[in-house]
């Protein structure tokens, strides 16, 4: 039983001919036709209303159904360009998925890969890529749409540039050719993208940052190609917030002038929220990009459900993940373990991941330096310990026990790291609302000792820390110091200023930029 398919774009009808009448007697095909208001016409054709955007889904379903009922899909005869494209795409996709998988999961050494390396080395003179980076870039260039879930430091930016360089140098009439890059990411990533561009291509990028800081008129004019020179911009950088706020203009940007864009979502976990506004904008714009890239080192921070939007972005017309959100959530909660292997198999061809072990990092060494408390601090600590620890069990039984115990333990910790912190309310640290769980200084029998404590002279660990920092700075090294307490960071800033050329404090309260509702938090 041979069935032929055609498409009439003017009527927006899928035309089913050949043995369509016979096939339509089968309950499965008949039900499908009923579901989509298919009708039998006197000319022997079955017509199914099909808007262009539904053509791929219709083709996929009809092909599957005909296969199930033992009919053959005839591919000869008159088919419209639109249907032919879908048919070719379907055929290609099956082979493509397998090859994409092979590229990353098996050691390939093909002529194609060697050509890729040659092209990348020719264009990207400023960087030498290591093997895994080249493979990941080749995977992306081959697939054009892919995720890169490599760990931080793996060089995801360079990998994107390598793939972009290859696709960009292809002839203009090559269907894989791309003209420019649109990178969506946090504001803090813009500089890195620009710097890396220069480092890879050994020339400054023709780039434009489109953010809330840019006046609206200017933003619109750039995206719509009105601003002189805007058409020559190769690297456009924007934030998730701006992409969402100016979605219509970005739509025009992606559609205008026959320019083919590689759209990159950096730190793409920003679109993991299934119903987020920013995610929705990115997903709506995705089909307009010639190539789509997802970059994140933490693809599923909350669970498998976070993967849904990422794979929807790279292939908007395909259900790569194959599971609805509720099922993915159940997998995350470990209530559907049987489904996990299938999920992994489904997404494997479409992402690469360079793990920490692949980076050949030198082994890290950890040296612990024990610093004993000196007299004044020892007295304060011991007094608090005697007051707090014996009461903990009793206090846990009371209301609000947990908050009170937490507040007390936090105080004990402050006594240990820097008793000066005991002078300020816990709320000042922005850690949590202690409500009435905290104690007041006057309740303590070491209140005077706390008041007279001076970290700059009495805190032994501060002296050790300053010495260590000084030694490293002296050898032109860099120092990164973490502290749990904001008060300690301020203390360190005061004490280290002057000891090094550049001292900066970064905390959760450090805004990077702010306008248009955009705020980036380091």
């Amino acid at each position: 039983m041979d069935v032929s398919l055609g498409y009439d774009p003017s009527e927006e009808m899928l035309l089913i001919g050949g043995a369509a009448e016979n096939a339509a007697r089968h309950p499965l095909f008949a039900a499908y036709l009923r579901q989509h208001a298919g009708r039998h016409d006197p000319d022997g054709l079955v017509r199914v209303p099909t808007p262009p955007e539904a053509l791929t889904a219709r083709y996929q379903a009809v092909e599957k159904i005909l296969q199930r009922i033992g009919a053959r899909l005839q591919t000869t005869g008159h088919v419209s360009d639109a249907l032919e494209n879908v048919r070719l795409e379907e055929g290609r996709f099956a082979a493509f998925s397998k090859k994409a998988y092979d590229i990353w999961h098996t050691d390939i050494e093909t002529e194609e890969f060697r050509e890729f390396i040659d092209a990348v080395e020719r264009v990207c003179g400023g960087r030498r890529f290591y093997a895994k980076q080249l493979l990941s870039a080749f995977h992306l260039a081959f697939a054009q749409n892919a995720c890169n879930f490599s760990v931080p430091g793996a060089g995801k930016t360079s990998i994107v540039y390598a793939a972009y360089a290859y696709l960009h140098q292809l002839p203009d009439d090559d269907p894989k050719h791309v003209d420019r890059l649109l990178v969506v990411g946090p504001l803090s990533s813009f500089k890195a993208w620009e710097d890396e561009f220069e480092a890879v291509f050994e020339m400054p990028p023709r780039s434009r940052r489109i953010s809330g800081r840019m006046p609206l008129r200017e933003r619109v004019d750039h995206l719509r190609g009105i601003t002189p020179g805007s058409r020559e911009i190769e690297l456009t950088l924007t934030s998730y917030q701006t992409l969402s706020n100016s979605e219509d203009d970005f739509r025009i940007f992606l559609q205008r002038g026959g320019k083919r864009t590689m759209m990159v979502l950096d730190e793409a976990h920003n679109i993991k929220g299934a119903d987020g506004v920013q995610a929705a904008s990115a997903l709506r714009l995705a089909p307009l990009a010639a190539s789509r890239v997802i970059l994140t080192g933490t693809p599923a921070p909350n669970g498998y459900e976070d993967l849904s939007n990422l794979f929807k972005f790279i292939y908007p017309s395909r259900n790569l993940v194959g599971f609805p959100l509720s099922t993915l959530r159940a997998m995350s909660e470990n209530s559907l373990p049987a489904a996990i292997p299938e999920l992994k198999v489904r997404i494997q061809p479409f992402f690469t991941r360079i793990r920490k072990a692949d980076l050949n990092l030198p082994p890290s060494s950890e040296r612990r330096i024990e610093v004993d408390l000196e007299n004044a601090q020892q007295q304060i600590y011991s007094s608090l310990e005697r007051r707090i620890v014996p009461q903990l069990e009793v206090e846990l039984q009371e209301q609000p026990g947990a908050v009170r115990v937490r507040a007390r333990l936090m105080r004990l910790r402050q006594a240990c790291v820097n008793p000066e912190l005991l002078l300020k309310p816990l709320e000042a640290e922005g850690i949590f609302e202690a409500e009435d769980g905290d104690f007041t200084l006057s309740e303590l029998d070491v209140a005077d000792a706390i008041r007279s404590f001076r970290a700059t002279t009495d805190l032994a660990r501060l002296r050790v820390c300053k010495d260590l920092a000084g030694q490293i700075v002296h050898t032109e090294g860099k120092v990164l110091i973490w502290s749990y307490f904001l008060g300690n960071l301020e203390l360190l800033r005061r004490e280290l200023t002057g000891a090094a050329e550049f001292v900066e404090v970064l905390t959760g309260a450090t805004p990077v930029a702010g306008s248009d509702g955009e705020e980036d938090w380091e």
Binding site: P27, L325, T327
Partner: protein
């Protein structure tokens, strides 16, 4: 004889204007406000039945479909058909009401439209008609006459009808199908939004959506069995197949809405159509909807205890069904063909459709039971985790059931393959014991 609409309107308008001594009034909520309306005594000849009456809508739609009658036609024949359907819809109860009417007269007034369509009180009017015939004494139907003709303000009148038939004033238990047909009429034919329908029916929000979705499934089922719009085919000996449709609607809804936790990546379109069709076939066979509702094992039972949630079981079940049932359904021929092949054998198309269904059921009963049984057995194994000793005991018990002396064992070559497979497995088990460390 059914009088023309013009004549009826003229008579009823005049009656509406006339005020009698000791006029009785009754309150009625209509067109958004409650007011007192006159109750008039109406000559039965000026009234026609409401073909959308809840008690007989499925029969009426089927009747119209069978005879290709337009929903606007109303003649003597239809009048008699409805009269007869109303009588047969609840014969014992009708007999009792007829006695009451004879003894006490009409106790509660009805409602009629200005063109004489009975909105409330069809059954009472039918009984009064019969009383008139039997006693040869002129009978009158006491009713409020609405200011609108049915056709001129159908939407408002149907709202009123809904309140009387299905809202808090519901007086009679209508057939289970009626609520589905009625909601479809309100929403699809009269464009009344679903939220408003919920209010009219005094139901929780979402009820009308569920009803209309279930109705769409029932319509699709009738198409599947080749009996479009023959709504009486939805009824069976136990009442209707409603429960199975309700369960199926909920299953498909969960699957398409993504709330069903199915541990395999099913195709949301093709696999759900297949599930629907297989369930339709079980509804059509009608032998799995007993008190135990075993059909629920196909897709309704929760916590993964259903065929669809277990990929291997589902695929074998689906394939078995496709191989044994679909060819029968495909080659069954249309209902028209069946009627032509059996001329003058059936009084109605519904009778012919039932006979055709029986023929279908004869052909598929055994394979459907077998396919279901196999899937049921495998589901038990998949969802019931037993200790190894229990499995071994069960396997032994089952093997001992085989008649080793009978000829059927060796008649099928596949039995040898199965025996060898069992042999391989039992050998592997034995080896496990040999290699296991000896317990201290």
């Amino acid at each position: 004889m059914v009088l023309s609409a013009d004549v009826r309107v003229k008579y009823l308008s005049a009656l509406r204007e006339k005020t009698e001594a000791n006029q009785v009034f009754q309150k009625l909520h209509y067109r958004g406000s409650t007011a007192s309306h006159k109750v008039c005594s109406i000559d039965l000849d000026y009234l026609i039945y409401n073909r959308h009456n809840g008690r007989l809508e499925a029969e009426m739609l089927t009747w119209e479909q069978e005879r290709h009658i337009s929903p606007d036609d109303y003649d003597d024949a239809l009048h008699e058909v409805i009269d007869d359907l109303l009588w047969r819809s609840a014969t014992p109860r009708n007999k009792q009401t007829l006695d009451d009417l004879r003894e006490k007269g009409q106790q509660r007034p009805g409602i009629v439209s200005l063109d004489g369509v009975i909105i409330d009180g069809n059954r009472r009017a039918m009984l009064l008609r019969r009383l008139e015939k039997a006693t040869q004494v002129k009978q009158y139907f006491d009713a409020i006459i609405l200011p609108d003709a049915y056709a001129d303000n159908q939407s408002e009148i149907v709202r009123l009808e809904t309140q009387y038939q299905m809202g808090e004033d519901a007086k009679v238990d209508y057939g289970p199908l009626q609520k589905y047909l009625h909601v479809r009429r309100l929403n699809v034919d009269l464009n009344i939004p679903l939220e408003q329908i919920d209010k009219l029916m005094n139901e929780k929000s979402g009820n009308a959506k569920r009803l209309i979705g279930t109705m769409a499934l029932m319509d699709d089922y009738l198409e599947h069995i080749g009996c479009p719009k023959l709504y009486t085919m939805l009824k069976d000996a136990d009442g209707t197949k409603e429960g199975m449709f309700v369960d199926l609607y909920s299953d498909l809804n969960r699957l398409s809405g993504g709330s069903a936790k199915v541990p395999w990546a099913f195709d949301p379109e093709v696999d759900t159509i297949q599930l629907r069709l297989i369930q339709f076939d079980y509804i059509r066979l009608g032998e799995f909807a007993d008190a135990k509702k075993v059909y629920r094992e196909i897709s309704h039972q929760s916590l993964g205890k259903n065929f669809f949630s277990n990929k291997d079981i589902w695929e074998k079940f689906r394939d078995g069904h496709e191989q044994s049932v679909d060819p029968v359904t495909t080659t069954m021929g249309s209902l028209d063909d069946f009627v032509s092949e059996n001329p003058d054998q059936f009084e109605t198309r519904v009778d012919a459709a039932r006979a055709r269904d029986k023929k279908w059921a004869e052909a598929v009963r055994a394979p459907m039971k077998q396919t279901f049984g196999q899937a049921h057995y495998k589901l038990g194994l998949a969802t019931e985790k037993l200790k190894p000793s229990e499995y071994l005991k069960r396997a032994l018990d089952l093997l001992q059931e085989i008649d080793l002396d009978g000829s059927t064992l060796t008649a099928a070559s596949e039995n040898l393959e199965l025996a060898m497979e069992i042999n391989r497995l039992s050998y592997a088990i034995k080896k496990k014991f040999e290699r296991a460390p000896v317990p201290a």
